[in-house]
């Protein structure tokens, strides 16, 4: 399996960013607040179209069929996307139906199977984050896009995360994560997004085509 994803040239936030990853690779996106880490993840997930450049998957434009691309991707946003009125299990049901995976095994991988029947509003921030990570596992997708996965996690869960990352990469999966703290991803490549200096902003605005300002 050869997985290459290249993305280049979204103006203003991301300027001519490019990289390539193979099966089993991991990439850490770092950079100051507002550097466009989350934006880059959303582009890679197919949630957002880049103004220029391409995302390639095995040499084919991945964003041409975004619904198909969505099946290759597990996306963890900065929000946990849990409905407070539904139980943990009910919150994961939709993702489980989409992939056909077993929600219980994914919950026990993150040590939250005991909370399955609790409404999500009773969970702590860290438990909600673990639930959102269980949904990433549930997707059974080769490409994991994680927006600050360690947010609110305790050290035990970081250990679990390390095991999950290793298993995923050993099976040929790719992990791309944004982070401000060290993540348990050995030999991960790293991409530092510079962010824009304040003095660059007016000039960058001028570069922006007027039609795109809407």
């Amino acid at each position: 399996m050869e997985n290459i994803s290249v993305f280049r040239g979204e103006r203003l936030v991301l300027d001519q960013v490019g990289f390539a990853l193979d099966a089993g690779d991991a990439l850490l996106l770092t950079g100051p607040n507002g550097a466009g880490k989350s934006t880059l993840l959303r582009v890679l997930a197919g949630l957002r179209k880049p103004e220029g450049g391409h995302v390639l998957w095995s040499g084919v434009d991945a964003l041409a069929d975004r619904s198909r691309h969505a099946e290759r991707v597990a996306y963890l946003g900065h929000q946990d996307a849990l409905k407070p009125g539904l139980t943990l299990l009910e919150n994961l049901t939709l993702a489980a139906r989409a992939s056909g995976a077993d929600p219980y095994s994914c919950m026990s991988a993150l040590n939250i199977s005991g909370l399955a029947d609790l409404p999500a509003r009773m969970l702590s921030a860290g438990q909600k984050r673990r639930a959102a990570l269980a949904r990433v596992l549930l997707a059974r997708a080769p490409l994991w896009l994680l927006d600050e996965p360690s947010l609110g996690l305790d050290s035990n869960t970081m250990g679990l995360l390390e095991t999950l990352f290793r298993a995923h990469r050993d099976a040929g999966g790719i992990v791309i994560a944004t982070t401000h703290v060290p993540l348990p991803l050995p030999d991960a490549k790293s991409l530092a997004l510079p962010g824009l200096n304040e003095s660059d902003i007016p000039q960058a605005m001028e570069d922006f085509p007027e039609d795109d300002l809407f």
Binding site: L47, Y75, L94, G100
Partner: protein
């Protein structure tokens, strides 16, 4: 993967119905509004049975239209705010089908209860019992149209700052044809004229809305997550 499409639509429906049951007060809100608004008319117009019977079709239809508007801005708004919309998009379901599933959920939680509450309100306003079946058929088509057009408008204004204000301004003009034909069918039935053509036009309107509204709504959802 395409075989899963119906399963996923059902899963979204199941999830929304479960949410509607857990938040029963929100769900009942629009039906209670419908009954209350309808009950205000006799108080305002005076207790003349003749006048009320004459105005009943219009009252029931306008109240149903306004009541169906109430839960619309939360239909996609809640999903956008907590990030669930991103996850829905990541299921691999085309956005138009996600929108269709949400529209079906809106009908089941708003349109169907309105349909059940309409005959009591009609009887209260003195509608003859033999025109109640026309009311129900018309409202069945009408509430489906409302869910489709309302869902489309809700996804289009999604993410706009004053979306909640914009929504009725967008939905009400688009649904006026349904209101005109629906109320006209009832009027015709009460005066002994033929009500068939009005209901057929209502059906034609629905037939056009079923494929077009989810498509437009899907584009709205794509734009909203950008």
């Amino acid at each position: 993967m395409k075989l899963q499409t119906p399963t996923l639509i059902l899963a979204i429906l199941e999830r929304d119905l479960r949410l509607a049951l857990r938040h029963g007060a929100d769900t009942l809100g629009s039906v209670l509004f419908f009954i209350l608004a309808g009950a205000l008319f006799p108080l305002a117009l005076g207790p003349s049975p003749e006048l009320l019977r004459h105005m009943a079709p219009g009252i029931v239809w306008v109240c149903a239209l306004l009541a169906a508007l109430l839960p619309l801005d939360r239909l996609f708004g809640a999903e956008l705010e907590d990030g669930s919309l991103d996850q829905l998009m990541m299921t691999g379901l085309p956005p138009s089908l996600i929108a269709l599933a949400k529209m079906m959920a809106h009908w089941l939680t708003t349109g169907l209860p309105l349909l059940l509450a309409a005959p009591p309100l009609g009887i209260m306003l003195g509608m003859p019992t033999d025109s109640l079946s026309i009311l129900l058929i018309g409202l069945l088509l009408g509430t489906l149209i409302l869910s489709l057009i309302g869902g489309m408008a809700a996804s289009v204004v999604l993410g706009a700052r004053r979306g909640g204000v914009l929504l009725p301004l967008l939905v009400l003009p688009l649904t006026t044809p349904a209101l005109i034909f629906g109320a006209a069918a009832l009027d015709a039935a009460q005066t002994g004229l033929s009500w068939g053509p009005d209901l057929e036009l209502l059906g034609a309107f629905l037939a056009a809305a079923i494929p077009l509204c989810p498509l437009a709504a899907g584009a709205g959802l794509r734009a909203a997550v950008e």
